[in-house]
């Protein structure tokens, strides 16, 4: 029992190490690539543009529901003026980075894992190697760089639209004075908070995209089944590992930042 625990702990550490090396190798490979900008544009399209609508939608609804929930809690304390602080801080510090990362994992990460898995099964990754093209640098590198660029941007978009959603329910619907709401948003959120949110977004971005790419890329080694089932297993594992990792590392980063 304890041995099993120890073994799974070692597995996790081993996997994390391999994923880090995988990510570093991909970045190093990307540096040696030709036409880097063109590849980066495609990767930003995949991770940024394609995730924009879902981030916008989820951000809006998160803000709306936060405005509603927190208003009814705060009004019991007679402190509905503090709605702006509550909505703004909870979104910028926690919900923005975490939900954005989970949405991107769902939209782009799972697709990336299965695409790479299929490319592995179809020998496209081997084909790149026989053409003297570094497969990691070609397939994974641009996506990692795109993650570094896109995650903070998507998080900022989520934050702003979420705060606006809180304004819609809090002020327009429930009648908190709009000046009070925005004043509280601006005065409560400091640069320290915003920076913390961006640090989280960066860590989540690098982590989730590395995990998803690693899982898909190594479908032949990691999945317990060959073929189609292996690809679906890779995609599932990629999403599970990414999501759990986001929440676990969120706790760690938060305790460092406070």
């Amino acid at each position: 029992m304890i041995r099993a625990l120890g073994r799974s702990a070692l597995t996790v550490v081993h996997e994390l190490g391999e994923i880090s090396l995988f990510g570093l190798g991909a970045l190093r490979g990307f540096v040696g690539q030709r036409r880097r900008l063109a590849k980066l544009v495609v990767a930003i399209h995949e991770i940024g543009v394609r995730c924009f609508p879902i981030v916008l939608t989820v951000g809006m609804f998160t803000g709306l529901v936060m405005g509603l929930q927190l208003y009814y809690t705060l009004v019991q304390l007679g402190a509905e003026a503090a709605l702006g602080d509550a909505v703004g801080l909870s979104i910028v510090l926690e919900l923005g980075p975490v939900l954005t990362a989970l949405m991107v994992v769902g939209q782009a990460g799972s697709a990336m894992a299965s695409e790479l898995g299929i490319q592995r099964n179809d020998e496209q990754i081997d084909a790149l190697q026989t053409m003297s093209i570094d497969p990691k640098g070609y397939l994974v590198g641009p996506r990692l760089v795109a993650a570094v660029i896109c995650f903070p941007m998507l998080t900022a978009i989520f934050d702003l639209i979420g705060i606006f959603g809180g304004y819609l329910t809090g002020s327009v619907l429930l009648g908190v004075d709009s000046g009070v709401y925005w004043h509280h948003v601006e005065s409560s959120i400091t640069w320290h908070d915003v920076r913390g949110g961006f640090i989280k977004a960066l860590v989540f971005g690098i982590y989730t995209i590395s995990v998803c790419a690693y899982r898909g890329f190594n479908t032949h080694r990691k999945a317990s089944f060959p073929g189609v089932r292996g690809v679906s297993e890779s995609a599932t594992r990629a999403v599970v590992w990414s999501s759990v990792g986001v929440l676990a590392s969120d706790y760690l980063i938060t305790s460092f930042l406070i």
């Binding site: 084909a127 190697q129 026989t130 093209i133």
Partner: protein, 252 residues
């Protein structure tokens, strides 16, 4: 054989307890077509992948044109100016790129050529393979035979000296199979590459083969001209060949 272009000595590869290749010796003459036959799962693809450096062999030597290929440090696809190309069973074309972009890929990503030179070479290659009309289409929009030709174009665009064909005719009807073999023979003459094939299409593949190698139990058990196969009638090889032919007759 003195003039062996590709020389393999004592090549070994195992996966776990399974000794897939257990000391392969093989000599391939320059600009010849050599076909490797054998049961499914016996390690024919593993042998090709070891030669192409997609898999690292456990032991053994591979020499190309008298030069040993150092497996540990060799960059895939290259060895002292002699290049390999690999044609995969399922073509391994990129779905998101057009046929022309697929063909251009190795030049675009791993050569020092300018864009206009690349375009010129790709157009010439597409024309050679009668694909001019299909350059702008995606692999998903092409027929099986056309995909094969695109894959061949991609394999040949780097002017390789050795082309490795991993079951080039799987999933094609008899007519198409024949045209793929014809294509390999024709372009071998046109481009002068050395071809190493893995195929199950016995006896059709013998038409274009200069040499046949039978892989069984991890070693090459027969190596010679296709005509010599029938003479060797009482061996286990003839059993394999008879079954292969029988299966063919039954399905025909």
């Amino acid at each position: 054989m003195e003039d062996a272009f590709l020389k393999i000595r004592g090549l070994k590869k195992h996966f776990g307890d399974n000794r897939v290749l257990d000391g392969i010796d093989l000599d391939v003459a320059r600009a010849s077509v050599t076909t490797i036959i054998g049961k499914s799962g016996i390690g024919k693809s593993v042998l090709l992948k070891c030669i192409a450096n997609l898999l690292a062999p456990d032991a053994g030597q591979i020499e190309l044109d008298g030069q040993a290929i150092a497996h540990s440090r060799r960059k895939a696809g290259e060895a002292d100016g002699v290049s390999f190309s690999y044609m995969f069973q399922n073509n391994a074309l990129f779905d998101s790129l057009t046929a022309a972009e697929n063909v251009a890929l190795p030049l675009l990503e791993a050569s020092g050529l300018s864009r206009s030179e690349i375009r010129e070479q790709v157009n010439a290659m597409l024309k050679h393979l009668e694909l001019e009309q299909s350059g702008g289409r995606y692999p998903g929009e092409l027929s099986g035979g056309m995909k094969k030709r695109v894959a061949l174009a991609r394999a040949l665009i780097t002017k390789p000296q050795v082309v490795l064909f991993d079951e080039p005719t799987t999933g094609l009807d008899p007519e198409r199979k024949f045209s793929v073999f014809e294509m390999i023979a024709d372009y071998r003459e046109k481009f002068g590459f050395t071809a190493l094939l893995v195929s199950h299409d016995i006896p059709e593949v013998f038409e274009i083969s200069d040499r046949v190698a039978w892989l069984d139990e991890g070693v090459i058990k027969f190596f010679g001209r296709p005509e010599e196969l029938d003479a060797d009638a009482e061996s286990a090889l003839s059993g394999f060949l008879n079954k292969a032919n029988y299966g063919r007759k039954a399905s025909a």
